[in-house]
Structure formats: structure tokens, C-alpha cells
């Protein structure tokens, strides 16, 4: 058994990605899957994984570039590469031959120490500050919506996304993320005002839930 380690897998071939996900799950590992090097960097910087397993040839940013960027940023946790070709590249902890031998991967994961998790410290003063800020953002969003100022609305969603997740409001964070993307990519046919009103209701409800808690 490898314990409940968190592994980030980057592979642009969806079939291979599903296979690796299944294999890692069978090793009692928690998996997160991405399809290119840019997503790999973002995900590795967003959460603290015990292990990264990456393909080499991927779109946007390949596995070697992604590894080098992470190493330049001081990322010191294990990064394993997988490749059908033999490669010689410093920075990877191991290079696995494709197709990946699951026993070899299991052995490597077994040897990788699980990173101690450090809890984020949030006290009542901090929580109170967060909800004051959320109330203000809710008012700002209402004003921007009345003006149909989608740029400001998008900036507000961006702030809510990061803050809400830190304070455990994962649902609100995800909705803010989705709303932000909708506001960034909407076409004229999209009913943005209606969607934004629905989001505002949820935002106001999140603040009200805290008051009644």
C-alpha cells in the first residue's frame, strides 16, 4: 500500500490518462489529472502534491519545460517523467519507460515520503474580515450588474474565487470561477445578466448563512 498520497498526472492522451488514473486509484492514491504542461504548472502551484507524474510531449508546454519552470520556482517534491523515447534530462527524480510498469510506479510511490500537511490557521477575526469583504464585494457586484459592467463583475468574481476557497467555501469559489469564465468568454447571445443575477443571489446567501451561523 502507498497510503493516501496525492499524485498529479499530466498526459495529453485521454485513454492513457484514464488508465493511469485507474492504476493510481488502485494504489490508494488520490489523483488529479491534467492534459498539458500549463495546466500542470498551475495545478502544482495550486495544491501541494506528493508526486507529479508527467508525460514529455504535450501541447502548450511540454513536460520538460513544465518541470524546469517548477524547479526554478523552488519546487522540490518528486517529479517523475514518462516517455516512450529514452531521454536524458536533469531535474526529474525518475524517468519511466512508456507504457508505465505499474509495479515500478507503485514501488517509487511507496518510497516517496508523504508530505506533512500544514493546516491553514484561520481565527474568528480573520473570518469576520473575510465576510465583511464578501459583503462589500456583493454590493460592488450589484452596482456593476446594474451598469452591466462585465469587466468589473469579472474582477469581483476573481477576488471571490481565491478568497472563498481559503475560507472553506468551495462551492462559492467554484461558482465564482465559472462566472468569471462566462464573463470573459460570453458571446452576445449569452444571457449574462440573468446568469449574473443568479450568481448574486448565491453570493448574498453565502453572506447571510454566516450571519445566521
Amino acid at each position: 500500500m502507498t497510503g493516501c498520497k496525492h499524485i498529479l498526472i499530466a498526459e495529453d492522451d485521454s485513454f492513457l490518462l484514464s488508465l493511469l488514473e485507474l492504476q493510481c486509484s488502485s494504489l490508494s492514491m488520490q489523483t488529479c489529472c491534467v492534459e498539458n504542461g500549463e495546466q500542470l504548472i498551475t495545478e502544482a502551484l495550486s495544491y501541494q502534491y506528493d508526486i507529479i507524474l508527467t508525460d514529455i510531449q504535450m501541447p502548450i508546454c511540454d513536460g520538460i519545460q513544465a518541470m524546469q519552470i517548477l524547479r526554478q520556482l523552488g519546487y522540490d517534491r518528486p517529479i517523475f517523467a514518462m516517455s516512450a523515447d529514452s531521454i536524458d534530462c536533469e531535474g526529474f527524480d525518475c524517468i519511466l519507460q512508456k507504457p508505465v510498469d505499474i509495479d515500478q510506479l507503485a514501488s517509487l510511490c511507496e518510497q516517496t515520503p508523504q508530505q506533512p500537511k500544514v493546516q491553514l490557521q484561520i481565527n474568528s477575526e480573520l473570518t469576520s474580515l473575510f465576510y465583511q469583504n464578501l459583503a462589500q464585494l456583493s454590493q460592488d457586484f450589484t452596482g456593476a450588474l446594474q451598469q452591466e459592467d462585465f469587466v468589473t463583475m469579472r474582477q469581483i468574481c476573481h477576488k471571490i474565487k481565491g478568497g472563498a476557497a481559503s475560507f472553506g467555501l468551495m462551492n462559492l469559489s467554484q461558482l465564482a470561477d465559472r462566472m468569471q469564465q462566462r464573463l470573459a468568454t460570453a458571446t452576445p447571445e449569452t444571457n449574462l445578466v440573468q446568469e449574473s443575477r443568479q450568481f448574486l443571489l448565491i453570493l448574498q446567501q453565502s453572506g447571510a448563512d454566516n450571519e445566521t451561523a
Binding site: 504548472i41 495550486s46 500537511k117
Partner: protein, 140 residues
Amino acid sequence: MRQPKILLVDDVDYSRQLLRNNIMALADTKLLKNRSYNFFNAGTATDANILFRLHQPDVVFLDIELPDQSGLELLSQFKQQKPECCIVMISGASTLENVTQSIKMGAATFIVKPFSGDKILAAMRIMEKKFYNQVTPDTI
């Protein structure tokens, strides 16, 4: 031992407070070398510039999305003024361009929000490596 000076730059009050609280909590639990730090807070790039010149911090936690100027521009200015300063970039959404730009300009590391205890600890450990490599024994 000299207290490292940390400048926290974020336009959201609770983000700065959260960073400060968690750095202090890490220090209290002896996960960091120092027991105490000198903190300075800025909510805008203008304030950050003034505080940087005044205090010459060892570490800056710098949000990319600031109301009056991009954090990337500030990063460049800070590195010109004090190349050895350890700068931790923060963003709610990292793009490959932001990350590579940050590296080129000399950022030590990059945190993608939401904050977590692990991410703050990892950034502080990187800061410690740089700080203790630079500080000569006489100044400790």
C-alpha cells in the same frame, strides 16, 4: 538573530492578515528558523513602493492583481532596487505567461490562491534558503 523583514502586498485586507497569521503560526510551531518577523503591509502598489524604499524588506509577498499597477511591474522595480530580495508572487489564476514572466524577472516562487498552510510553508522555506545564504555570520 536578525529579524527578517517581510512586506505583504495585497489589496485584500484579510489576505494580508491571513499570510501574517500563518507565517507567525509556522514560526510558533518551530517549522521556521526564525521565531519572529517584522511585517509591513501595503494594499496598493503606491504604498508598496514607499514601504519598499523605506524598509528594504528581505521578503515580499506580492499579489499580481493590484488596483493601481501590475504586480509584475512592481517585481521588476523591486529587483532593480534590491536584487537579493526574495519575492513570492501571488495570483488567483496563474497563466504560463505570468509564471514565466515572474521567473525571468527574478521571482523566487509563485503561489496560486487559495492559500494553504503547505503553500505558505513551502514559500517560507525557499525564503529561508535564500536569506541564510545571503546573511553573513556577523549580521546574524
